[in-house]
């Protein structure tokens, strides 16, 4: 059972356009929602993350929009550049913690979106 569903599987955008990737989750125990960027032959790298107590977080050209009631969140890449071409993964965390309440940080990933930005 896929707890985090991501769409679309692939996305083609022109340079300067807006890229939008969507994710939906089921487990209400999730309390941390990161996005990872992965280039070919490399491991995923943390791009931006949000907690459910805010509806939006912006870092440069990257914005996460979060809708807690709908259990959905999305990544918006403004002014998309060819260098943004990569695979993007949404993820969710929050299951399991130690006796002090610190999360184990286990991540449940979406299926991934291959973004291609044409020059």
């Amino acid at each position: 059972q896929q707890q985090v569903k991501q769409s679309p599987q692939s996305l083609i955008v022109q340079k300067g356009g807006i890229s939008i990737i969507n994710c939906a989750y089921e487990n209400t125990a999730f309390d941390y929602f990161p996005w990872y960027q992965q280039f070919p032959g490399k491991g995923p790298a943390l791009l931006i993350a949000i907690r459910p107590d805010v509806s939006e977080k912006k870092e440069g050209r990257f914005t996460i929009s979060f809708n807690k009631s709908a259990k959905q969140f999305s990544l918006h890449i403004m002014d998309s550049q060819p260098g943004d071409s990569a695979t993007y993964f949404c993820a969710a965390s929050g299951e399991g913690a130690n006796a002090g309440g610190t999360s184990y940080g286990k991540l449940t990933f979406g299926q991934g979106t291959i973004l291609t930005v044409h020059p």
Partner: protein
């Protein structure tokens, strides 16, 4: 500043063979994780460790074993490799980032089982 280093980078095995994947981190992180990445499936957690000498099962643990004898190392073992274990394996370690545990990934081990 190596971060998370995975060894080997590539490997081809025959069905039934065994092998161990090594993950080493030099950031003194407490938590470490093993994931596998398959097309259309994202990354799925195999096992994780919250400290030296401790391990726990993730989402897809069957057919794998792990050990964390030293804080900086996390080993993933395949006792009897099967074609279904053909995948790209990623190790990650976790650090605290603005009260959130953010994971830092290695560059993966590409494993093919024939």
């Amino acid at each position: 500043n190596a971060g998370v280093t995975q060894t080997p980078k590539f490997r081809v095995l025959k069905t039934g063979q065994s092998m161990t994947l090594l993950c080493a981190q030099d950031m003194n992180h407490e938590y470490m994780y093993w994931y596998r990445q398959d097309p259309g499936m994202g990354l799925r957690l195999i096992h994780y460790s919250v400290g030296e000498g401790t391990t726990a099962k993730g989402e897809v643990p069957d057919g794998y074993n792990v050990s964390r004898l030293k804080k900086q190392n996390f080993l993933l073992g395949l006792e009897s490799a099967a074609p279904s274990q053909t995948s790209v394996y990623f190790c990650a370690s976790s650090y605290l980032y603005r009260l959130i545990r953010a994971q830092h990934f290695g560059d993966g081990t590409r494993l093919s089982i024939l």
